[in-house]
Symmetry: C2
Subunit: 340 residues, 2 copies
Amino acid sequence: MSSVKAVAKEAGVSTATVSRFLNTPELLTEKTRIKVTAAIKATGYSMNSLARNFRRGKSNTIVVVMPSIGVPHFGSVMKGIETVASEKGFSIMIIDTQFNTLPADKMAGMFFSNQADGIILLGSSSPFKHALSHASSPEKHPPIIVSCENATPEIIDFPSVRIDNRAASIAATNHLISLGHIRVAFISGSLSTGVSGERESGYRLAMNEHNLDTCEDLISDGNLTIEDGRRLTRRLLNQNQRPTAILCANDEMALGAIYEIKNYGLKVPEDVSVIGFDDIRYAEISDPPLTTIAQPGEEIGEKTMYQLCNVIEGSKIDSTPVIVPHQLIIRSSTAAPQTK
Amino acid sequence: MSSVKAVAKEAGVSTATVSRFLNTPELLTEKTRIKVTAAIKATGYSMNSLARNFRRGKSNTIVVVMPSIGVPHFGSVMKGIETVASEKGFSIMIIDTQFNTLPADKMAGMFFSNQADGIILLGSSSPFKHALSHASSPEKHPPIIVSCENATPEIIDFPSVRIDNRAASIAATNHLISLGHIRVAFISGSLSTGVSGERESGYRLAMNEHNLDTCEDLISDGNLTIEDGRRLTRRLLNQNQRPTAILCANDEMALGAIYEIKNYGLKVPEDVSVIGFDDIRYAEISDPPLTTIAQPGEEIGEKTMYQLCNVIEGSKIDSTPVIVPHQLIIRSSTAAPQTK
DNA sequence: CTGTTAGCGCGTTCAA
DNA sequence: TTGAACGCGCTAACAG
């Protein structure tokens, strides 16, 4: 309620002095500092950050756009983002796109109205196709960093932090091939776009490399959810020639796949091997424990936020992606195919 | 960049008219509206919401304080919160307390500086003990609603939305007892506080009701994480007299428990029954599928946000908790104890 | 229905 | 080292 003016009056100084006390106390006399300190306490003053943000022209807030809260992998990344954000004094505003069902216009406004000093696109891209073209001048939006997402055309110019999804997918596929699998299926989130597209591409590359078939029966498309993992797996199992291994675009799908395979009366990994992506915390305690590609989530989050801070502070950053290392974690959901 | 002033000049009207166009267009002539629309397009105008928020004295932002992003159950609740928030024009700022490791002072500032129009404490409470007492006058913070958390002393005066945790826990415990279990263990997140405390209390009540033992060996304390579910379960299994059933304070702990029991060479539910809380999406695909208490997460989120809106709009709301229904979902992780 | 005027609370000149 | 004065962009109050 009380403002600098009230504090100034109480302390018998000018508002400018109070302002300086708040921002650059080292410029004040010890004596004035004491007076102002007392006055602040006496009046119960607390900053109106609305006014400060307005005056400074920045919000000290960064916006994270993500497909869904409650996804374990993004939880790890957020932890890293938050660590750095809090260190640098930024608050975090989250926009949950509910797996991209949120209309783009809803967001467009906020990005062009000083509400955010920076934006992180966490596993997201599409919301911006519209928003960016909607703006008259492209200079107007705050800095944007892409995290955990591969370059699709609309975001290719932004700096990004991620693993090498194609290489990771090749490693995963090769692991299955080296175990002796011939019929390897791939189930994916939205094919041919972003992360899933890269992972699919890696899968195809590795399969072709070994002259293995990648006919359309083996490749299917869904969302990165348990539900779709289950649905696509059921379809796979009902085919004439079942795959002996399934590579899933993330762990949630893989966990759904394992459930359906067992439910179908088959065994993992004896009848069908399953491999996922992300190494979420549920992967290790799955039955059988899930073989997967681990990503350093927190590290990705931290690097993303550091990148963003750099851009906000004015550094020019080229848009070459920052690649962090992935790691194939071999557990028990993969094994050599059963010889019939 | 361009402001209402520029638009006003371009359109040949006053800034007030531009402002009205933005906020109450129905008060304007069709003709003026057209002129202003054109001018806005011509100048590439976009609102400075920092200025608007400042002028209006509100941020149109609500803050959600939660223990961790990436927890499935809170994800559901957030979905409900977001639905209503977006409908009402609020942005959401999230503070992740990393399971309460975040120092309270870090947050205190923002709650007393107009940065938030309202606050939701989602499964959280403690951060405020300090923050509230720290403020000179208790009137100064924005409205607060508690979601998914039982009244601990420091937050008992705030309105809240949740299930009846004690009744739910009684239902879960009775389910085990009716199956014939005598030695039922309870593993918990931070005992004797909030949700876990209520759940423990329900457990004790049900056990006592049936004259069953609840000695200290059977009750253990941890965080609501997979890790602690595993750790506490291992301890339980190594006791002389093993429990035949374990009631866990949430599903993550329960999933960890199941893993450890199987890992120990025992079977679920034949040797040990396990029951959880929340019905997160991983519960259904667990092996065996997890018996649990389901909470209507989205509904809780929606009701919480509606409550908050009401308070923000000035309604007096009493602090009687809004109780939403829970439901015992019986799957396959519970069964009668094996007769030896 | 529209224009004029004033000021939200702060940070930043410029002088003293 | 401190104070006086101004203005950020917007909206509210009051006239017209």
